[in-house]
């Protein structure tokens, strides 16, 4: 009896000693390595890619969207043995770098390596099936959405595209994709689970899932169909005039929302690599140029607002105006003319505008132009936007001031100028143009969008009204210079611009920037449209090149949005006296 007890105790003691020794070995000598080994045993960690938010037009139609795609990954523990054959297959079928792929397939430190991301599902499945058929092991497929641009070149200069960064990870390269990358991208999630010997997930195994947070859609103010039409009309206009490039902006007069913003030449964001990088930006936001006579409406409305003139103020316009350093001419030869301010705008007389602008106190015009938004970024939320050049007070000599009064010696972007013209359309209130609907925060942390659009009075309602009436005379078939910009049945107010262009060497090189900016219906404006063509070689000017494009775009916009004519008679302001 006692003997048995003693032996029993002895055995227990021996066993416990062994346990203790093992415990010390495990916990005391190298605890971390064992923990790592245990954790790695049959455990798999998977990235759950977040679905990137779409970029939509104002009606929810996509410019950019994410669709099902697959990533091809490798388990180097399995793929290492057949690595050369696999690398050959993958590099050939997926256009990957052979040596980099080989290195990844052989990586001894991991059970998971990216091989290719965002492969269209069908292609990825075919490649992996091909590998399996050849007895090559170690490849696996994982969910990885693909970025798709269903409208191709429509809106690309604003939308941008996703390129490929390091290790094949997608990277926003341009446009809204880049400016709002953080919002669109979301956050990738992760799943860790245990697998059995077969590689199948163990149902009751250790499972942790951090779900992916999908990106948020970005809704723009653009109208995809109108954007298409605008781009096509612009293309036809630029090619027809044999110009270098062009921009067209369609704004909703009341809200400042950009309904269409076209650039030419453009590119296809679904295949950006086929186009030069210079075509990726939006020239309407990045290019600066001298606006020419369209700017005269800003000068005229400022003069009226300051109470210095009215639309009927009479001027005697000589054939040549001698100023301090040089004579100022009009584009057409004329004897001394007796023009009203409306007449000066209607025939676009530089001499008349300079004479009227002489009424300004020093610095007054500059203040007005600044309030019209010139010389400052519109801040629509896209990177690479230019501020334009509004000479400082120190640079504003009387000669510079003369030229600025008729739109030379200062530089603008197309969107800036469109917003300035829109101020006249909107009864003298300038509203910030927007491209993002509602409100969104850029990666730089700026909150932009139509909800954030600032509103400020630049000129009085009466000054805007008088300016509108003068602008109506521009499209008059008898008295104006741009009858081609008329829209049948509607009252249209507009202004032509034909400016000398500054060449690469910083001097006027003999080429022109032609433009037309205006709005309709003139007495209850709904749309403000601005069309610019750089360096037309057909001898055309603002009225003959950009005017008809304006008319087509305005006709389309009015009929698309069901805006009927107001039925009122157009202004018959006297142009001469």
């Amino acid at each position: 009896m006692h003997l048995r007890l003693q032996v029993g105790f002895l055995v227990v003691a021996l066993v416990l000693s062994v346990f203790t020794a093992r415990l010390v070995q495990l916990q005391g000598l190298d605890p971390r390595q064992y923990a790592r080994l245990a954790a790695a045993e049959g455990k798999v960690s998977v990235v759950l890619p977040a679905t990137r938010g779409a970029i939509l037009d104002r009606f929810g139609r996509p410019f950019a969207r994410s669709t099902d795609g697959l990533m091809i990954a490798a388990n180097p523990q399995l793929s290492a043995q057949d690595a050369p054959a696999l690398a050959t297959l993958l590099s050939r079928r997926l256009d990957l770098d052979y040596f980099e792929t080989l290195e990844r397939l052989r990586d001894p430190d991991t059970q998971f390596q990216y091989i290719a991301r965002q492969v269209p599902a069908a292609r990825a499945r075919a490649v992996v099936a091909d590998a399996v058929e050849r007895g090559l092991k170690g490849l696996e497929l994982r969910n990885d959405p693909v970025r798709d641009y269903p409208a191709h070149d429509i809106g690309c200069n604003l939308v941008g595209f996703m390129g490929t960064g390091k290790h094949g990870v997608p990277k926003a390269r341009a446009g809204l994709e880049r400016a709002f990358d953080r919002q669109l991208a979301g956050t990738d999630g992760e799943a860790r689970y245990q697998t059995g010997a077969s590689g199948r997930r163990i149902p009751l195994g250790d499972n942790t899932v951090t779900p992916a947070v999908d990106g948020t859609d970005l809704v723009t103010t653009l109208d995809r169909d109108l954007q298409w039409y605008t781009q096509r009309v612009l293309r036809q206009t630029v090619l027809g005039a044999r110009g270098d490039s062009g921009y067209a902006v369609v704004l909703d007069t009341r809200t400042g929302e950009t309904l269409a913003l076209a650039d030419y030449p453009t590119y296809d964001c679904a295949d950006p690599q086929d186009y030069p990088e210079s075509s990726y930006t939006s020239r309407a936001l990045a290019d600066v140029y001298e606006p020419g006579s369209v700017e005269k409406v800003l000068t005229a409305s400022s003069l009226i607002d300051a109470g210095l003139v009215t639309d009927r103020t009479r001027f005697v316009v000589p054939p040549v105006l001698m100023r301090q350093d040089a004579p100022i001419h009009d584009y057409f030869d004329h004897d001394t003319l007796r023009l009203t301010l409306a007449g000066i705008i209607a025939v676009s007389s530089n001499i008349g505008t300079v004479m009227a602008a002489d009424e300004f106190a020093p610095g007054q015009l500059r203040d007005y132009l600044q309030r019209f938004g010139l010389g400052q970024r519109t801040g629509v939320g896209l990177g690479g936007e230019s501020a334009g050049i509004l000479p400082s007070d120190a640079q504003w000599t009387s000669q510079v001031g003369d030229r600025i009064a008729f739109g030379q010696s200062l530089s603008v972007t197309a969107l800036q100028m469109a917003a300035a013209v829109n101020t006249i359309a909107n009864g003298g209130m300038r509203i910030d143009p927007s491209i993002v609907q509602g409100s969104a925060t850029t990666d730089e942390g700026r909150t932009v969008g139509s909800d954030e659009a600032g509103l400020r009075r630049v000129v009085s309602e009466d000054a805007a009204l008088q300016t509108m009436r003068m602008m109506e005379r521009v499209v008059d078939p008898e008295d104006g210079v741009a009858p081609g910009a008329r829209v049948a049945g509607y009252r249209v107010a507009g202004k032509t611009g034909t400016a000398q262009r500054v060449g690469p060497d910083g001097t006027y090189d003999g080429s022109f920037t032609v433009s037309f900016g205006g709005f309709a219906p003139a007495d209850d404006p709904r749309f403000t449209i601005y069309v610019v063509v750089q360096n037309p070689r057909n001898g055309g000017g603002g009225g003959s090149v950009a005017g008809p494009a304006f008319s087509r775009l305005m006709t389309y916009a009015l009929s698309r949005y069901g805006v009927p004519p107001t039925g009122a008679a157009p202004s018959r302001l006297p142009v001469e006296w």
């Binding site: 100023r323 057409f332 006709t555 004519p565």
Partner: protein, 189 residues
């Protein structure tokens, strides 16, 4: 607790009780105790039911666990299958949405419409269906070439830009007075 030391303690405690002094008293008491011999085994509860009960519990436990495990596995497979099916269906729905969106591509619609002989209206005019009044200036649409709807041009293979044409200035063109731009400042000619 170390067992050898307790063993020693037990033995030390038991040893003094052995010597003879105690034995006679114990014998006398034992004799008294021997008289009534009750049947020890007869009164005990029957063993079988207990064994059966334990066996049943054990077996049903094992079987239950087995069934549970099987059903869990089954559920896991079903879940996987359903997940695959859901993935397939959502891929399919996405594919259809894609196809729909491709059909809505304005370029495609424009090309098809133009091929079908449709023409864009040259003016914006409206018909008031209540009064029958025509608002705006309607004009008949004239069929032209599908130039506007030409597809996206192929990537540019830029030809050398033609020599700048002499800047003709027809009537209807307003050219600001000729100026040269020098050193950032306009210098009038």
């Amino acid at each position: 607790m170390s067992s050898p030391s307790s063993l020693r303690t037990a033995r030390a405690a038991a040893a003094p009780a052995r010597p003879g002094g105690v034995r006679p008293a114990a014998t006398g008491r034992a004799r008294l105790a021997l008289a009534p011999r009750f049947p020890r085994w007869g009164r005990r509860a029957p063993r079988m039911p207990f064994v059966v009960l334990v066996s049943v519990i054990a077996v049903s436990g094992i079987v239950g666990l087995l069934l549970f495990n099987t059903s869990m596995q089954q559920a896991a497979f079903t879940a996987t299958q359903l997940e695959d099916r859901a993935a397939d269906l959502s891929a399919r729905s996405e594919e259809l949405a894609l196809a729909l969106e491709d059909l809505r591509d304005p370029q495609r619609i424009a090309e098809q419409a133009c091929r079908a002989g449709m023409v864009m209206g040259p003016t914006a005019a409206f018909l008031d269906v209540d009064t029958g009044r025509v608002i705006g200036v309607p004009e008949p649409a004239v069929r032209g070439a599908c130039g506007l709807t030409a597809p996206t041009p192929a990537p540019p293979t830029r030809p050398a830009p033609p020599a700048p044409a002499p800047a003709a200035q027809p009537r209807g063109v307003d050219v600001a007075s000729p100026l040269r731009f020098g050193a950032g400042r306009g210098v009038a000619r």
